[in-house]
């Protein structure tokens, strides 16, 4: 199996900037100017979210340490506690009172509440969601709890990007200069875990958070910087939380969500607020759902050794299991949806499985024998003093599935590969991307609408968004040519796939 030592590490003090026609260009930190190499990204927004721009939620406790405790009347104390910490904390305070009646009374109420909660847990085991640490464990991005940039979602048809930050707001940057940057934020939206633009729409974006999903409708023509919740549809189910992953069907009519404490995957009809549930045994929660780009299959994985591939026509599933490595940490579809790449939690090997439409659902006997093969060993190595590899955190593929980027759990380099499907599925090492000093990658994402190749974007811990374009200059030409020759024949077969990308209005 191939290993990370096959990568070429850039010279000391240099960082990889882009890849043009298969050649990686790396330059010194100080002279890093992408525009010198390509103008494909000239119109894309330059993003750097500093800590000053964040509106962090203050708990109100900061000032407390400055004041000395004072003796106040009991009633006043209770009111204060109720105002600051809520009802249960008030009862706890009251149970410490020295009057027998009050002490016993509050203890009794506390006990009753405890038993009610226990009964609720029996009926709805999913209520036991413990808080953001769980999300931090399962989230795709690295160090989810503390990183400035939590998720990146590129719009499928334009150079618009939505970025979820740690202050639970979504910022939407677009290429048009002078345009405003809407901030999506509301009280219900806590601990954002995933975001996705709706296909076949220009304005809608789904935000998965702790309690459910919010579908925002962001009108780019409006001048409002902070759209109100009246522009959004709030979807939630009591037992479906915390929503950890969501995926739109390529046609934009269905939304699939997975929750870390619910073993049911929900398929939503967003407008009608209806759900159908996909439920199979195994696991107490789900971590990841990914719709294949062709829309025929859906990948889902539970928090145990099992993951599934659903046929979206009949909604039957194929069950795959990992041999005692742990749950899946990340996965993606590559090569136009015919290949699934995945990695297990804490594991350093990237696996690949060829899932062809025709074979996968023919007969059970055949599919049982199917196996994923290990493609690349990413065990930790030190190349020229730079630590590389280790456990895999996130895998992302570009929209056409020709390139794959891997984010590691412990080391700060991002590995980029090319995907080859024939004669045999393989990953070709391409380049290593490093940040500036002290920068750690938080999350990665490919631009969805990029004509001249693929472009990886990396959210660094400093709040900077880096572009790493992989450009084929001949691709652009051939693209134009094919469009020209197909102009006269309306139904020419040669143009399929190409015409889907751009518009000439």
């Amino acid at each position: 199996m191939k290993g990370l030592h096959e990568f070429e590490v850039p010279n000391d003090g240099e960082i990889c900037l882009c890849e043009i026609n298969g050649r990686v260009h790396s330059v010194n930190y100080e002279y890093a100017n992408l525009d010198a190499f390509t103008d494909a990204l000239k119109n894309h927004p330059k993003i750097h979210i500093t800590r000053d721009q964040l509106h962090l939620i203050s708990s109100g406790d900061e000032g407390k340490a400055l004041f000395l405790p004072v003796d106040v009347s009991f009633l006043k104390q209770l009111t204060q506690v109720y105002y600051e910490q809520g009802f249960t904390e008030t009862l706890h305070t009251a149970s410490g009172h020295n009057q027998w009646f009050i002490r016993k009374g509050s203890k009794l109420i506390l006990d009753v509440l405890k038993y009610i909660n226990k009964v609720r847990l029996i009926f709805n085991p999913n209520v036991r969601y413990s808080g953001p640490t769980l999300i931090n464990e399962y989230a795709q991005g690295r160090n989810w709890l503390n990183s400035t940039i939590r998720c990146i979602a590129w719009h499928p048809y334009s150079s618009k990007v939505a970025i979820a930050t740690c202050d639970d707001s979504i910022r939407i940057f677009s290429s048009e200069c002078g345009s405003i940057t809407p901030i999506l934020r509301c009280k219900q939206q806590k601990h954002v875990t995933c975001i996705a633009w709706r296909p076949l729409s220009n304005t809608e974006i789904a935000v998965g958070h702790e309690d459910g999903i919010i579908i925002w409708n962001v009108d780019p023509n409006s001048l409002v910087v902070r759209p109100s919740i009246s522009n959004a549809v709030v979807l939630k189910r009591l037992e479906h939380k915390p929503v950890i992953s969501l995926a739109w069907s390529p046609r934009g009519d269905k939304l699939v969500t997975a929750a870390a404490c619910d073993n049911t995957i929900l398929v939503w009809d967003v407008e009608l607020d209806l759900t159908s549930s996909l439920k199979r045994s195994g696991g107490s929660g789900n971590i990841l759902v990914k719709w294949s780009p062709t829309g025929e299959r859906l990948f889902s994985c539970s928090n145990t050794l099992v993951f599934r591939i659903w046929d979206c026509r009949t909604w039957d599933c194929e069950r795959w299991s990992l041999p005692s490595m742990g749950r899946i940490q990340s996965a993606c579809w590559a090569a136009d949806g015919s290949v699934l790449l995945f990695a297990a939690e804490g594991d350093t090997v990237l696996y690949g499985a060829v899932i062809d439409c025709d074979i996968a659902f023919v007969s059970n006997g055949e599919s049982l024998e199917k196996q994923a093969c290990p493609l690349f060993d990413m065990s930790r190595v030190d190349v020229e003093g730079i630590p590389l590899g280790g456990p895999i955190r996130q895998i992302e593929a570009d929209p056409k599935g020709r390139h794959v980027a891997v984010l590691f759990q412990d080391t700060d380099c991002i590995a980029v590969f090319g995907v080859v499907k024939r004669p045999q599925l393989a990953l070709i090492p391409s380049s290593l991307i490093m940040g500036l000093a002290e920068e750690k990658p938080s999350t990665i994402s490919f631009i969805q609408d990029f004509d001249s190749g693929s472009c990886l974007t990396i959210g660094w811990s400093s709040g900077r968004l880096q572009y790493y374009p992989i450009i084929y200059s001949d691709l652009g030409e051939s693209h134009n040519k094919s469009v020209n020759c197909s102009y006269n024949s309306f139904n020419a077969k040669s143009i399929h796939g190409q015409v889907l990308e751009t518009n000439v209005f």
Partner: protein, 574 residues
């Protein structure tokens, strides 16, 4: 799903579906009874005996003597209900009409059946379950019988549940809801069983509570009259324990569960997707025709759903539309489809336009610009249909009547206004009289009863929303697939017509946004009309977007009016 009927009629299809659902709902009663007996015979220390006694009770002749009348009532009810799901619902434009429609003989029969089922269910379950309330009477002093008050109360509560369910839930909740994705039936059943049970238990709490209060006031007199009627004695210690109330709740929940289960089975079988044949065969169903059968809404829904599915998933079935008929080389399948789909959209557009105008309730002067605006539509129609726009194409299209003449007549028939003094005076008097009459109408509540309900029409439009959602998504997917799959350019000739019709539909739907009742988010945000309006609106928008995305480069070459192109641009660019 795997039906491939050569000659299937509406009746075959529907009867198949309905009979399955009726059989299932009857069988489910038996299963439910068995489960109930199993639980009431609980005997943890002797499990073998437990199971044996369960079966003994279930297999005994007396049980079946009880069960058979019950099951036959259920059977009768489900057959009567079946009609509701299949037939088109009456359109009631006024409050009075909807009031009358509730007071039909059928509903009366159903009410009686519901009440009877409620009472028999309680009687059956309590007598088979054993225990304190097994019988209505009790031998209290060897010679005389007393009334068992607890048992009496339970049976009355059964009647109450039947009454309550019918008036509160059944009358209002008759539409079928299609699941978001279609899984196997067993899976759907498994997924729905527990939520249904939960919902039944919760929803039966309040009716039980109301009943307890009502019984507190009237119960004694009811029991008295019953005792008198059958000359029964009063028990000495007629104390109704808390257990009876609990039983009451359980029975009410069971009743609700039964009814919900019946509804679920209808939903399950009727919404199961069907693959319609796509070639026209005499005396048989055909996808294209079914798209427009508005008298059988369920067939129409299924046909549209099938169109949606085949457009998305089945390349081989799509190919049927892109082929030419063998002798003659005409795209009959496609023409037939387009004709029907466009007709469907146009009818819907007209319906919405009509109701939007009614509800806007504008004064006549303000309506004038509306008419002016409408002259756009015939213009667009003529742009689509007039054959001279297609001189370059093979004329495979259906021969439409030229719309140009219509347009001209529309322009001419505008009535000129006479500035006559007397006329003016008469008008004024008429206005006064009219306003006086309307005031009287409002005061006497005539408007309330007989006035056109503003939302009634829109409501019927929106209740039919699934049809439009699926048809628009389906047709747009087929059109987009045609770019690579259609060898003969069959779809191309109808593309402008499809786009125009969808744009018109979108315009009409945009008008709905102005209706105050549909823009507000209703209290509790659980308003079907509001949601369905959005669903249809977004679905049509996505369909147009899909076409724009696929044909982006060529849109300027299509014979579209400037307004349409402009509209598409705003839609796509937003």
């Amino acid at each position: 799903m795997d039906r491939s009927p050569a000659t299937v009629t509406y009746k075959d299809l529907l009867l198949g579906k309905l009979s399955y659902s009726v059989i299932c709902s009857v069988l489910s009663q038996l299963v439910l009874l068995q489960v109930y007996i199993f639980f009431t015979n609980t005997n943890i220390f002797h499990p073998q005996q437990w199971i044996r006694s369960t079966f003994a009770v279930f297999a005994s002749v007396s049980t079946w003597l009880y069960v058979i009348p019950f099951v036959s009532i259920i059977f009768a009810q489900s057959i009567i209900c079946a009609k509701d799901y299949v037939l088109k619902q009456e359109y009631c434009s006024t409050r009075f009409q909807s009031f009358l429609s509730v007071l039909s003989i059928r509903n009366f029969v159903l009410l009686i059946l519901n009440v009877v089922i409620g009472a028999t269910l309680v009687w059956l379950f309590s007598s088979l379950g054993g225990g304190h309330y097994q019988s209505l009477t009790r031998n209290c002093n060897k010679l005389h019988y007393c009334l068992n008050e607890g048992s009496f109360m339970l049976i009355i509560s059964g009647i109450w549940s039947g009454l309550y369910y019918f008036t509160k839930i059944y009358v209002s909740k008759k539409h079928l809801s299609f699941p978001v994705i279609h899984q196997r039936k067993l899976l759907q059943f498994k997924a729905q069983l527990v939520p249904l049970l939960k919902e039944s238990i919760i929803s039966s709490f309040w009716p039980t509570f109301y009943f307890v209060i009502i019984y507190m006031f009237w119960g004694e007199s009811l029991a008295d009259s019953f005792r008198n009627m059958f000359s029964l004695l009063k028990e000495k210690d007629c104390y109704i324990g808390i257990q009876a109330y609990f039983c009451m709740w359980i029975f009410a929940a069971l009743y609700n569960f039964n009814m919900n289960l019946m509804q679920f089975f209808f939903n399950l079988f009727l919404t199961e997707p069907v693959e319609f044949p796509m070639q026209h065969v005499p005396n048989s169903l055909c996808l294209q025709e079914c798209l427009n059968v508005s008298e059988w809404p369920i067939i129409q829904n299924l046909a549209c759903y099938d169109l949606n599915n085949l457009a998305l998933n089945s390349k081989s079935r799509r190919q049927v539309f892109f082929t030419l008929s063998q002798p003659g080389g005409h795209p009959h399948n496609w023409n037939h489809l387009v004709e029907n789909v466009l007709k469907l959209f146009q009818e819907y557009t007209n319906q919405i336009d009509k109701s939007a105008v009614v509800t806007e309730n504008m004064p006549k002067a303000a309506l004038q610009p509306q008419n002016l605006f409408q002259h756009n539509y015939p213009a667009i129609k003529s742009a689509i249909k007039s054959p001279e726009r297609y001189q370059n194409f093979r004329n495979m299209s259906l021969m439409y009547n030229t719309g140009l003449d219509e347009e001209i007549t529309v322009e001419i028939t505008r009535v000129p206004i006479n500035w006559n003094l007397i006329q003016n005076l008469i008008d004024k008097i008429k206005q006064k009289v009219n306003s006086a009459i309307s005031v009287i109408k409002i005061l006497l509540g005539i408007n309330f009863l007989f006035g056109e309900l503003p939302q009634a029409n829109i409501q019927t439009c929106l209740a039919n929303g699934y049809v439009i959602i699926w048809a628009s998504q389906g047709i747009s997917d087929i059109v987009c697939a045609s770019l690579v799959e259609d060898q003969y350019g069959i779809v191309q000739k109808d593309l402008p017509a499809i786009i125009n019709t969808l744009v018109q539909l979108k315009h009409a739907l945009d008008k709905l946004n102005k209706i105050p009742a549909l823009t507000r988010k209703m209290a509790g945000y659980n308003d079907f009309n509001f949601k369905m309006k959005n669903a249809v609106n977004y679905a049509v928008r996505r369909s147009l977007f899909n076409i724009c995305k696929t044909f982006g480069k060529y849109l300027n070459d299509l014979p579209l009016s400037k307004d349409t192109v402009f509209y598409l641009q705003t839609l796509y660019r937003v």
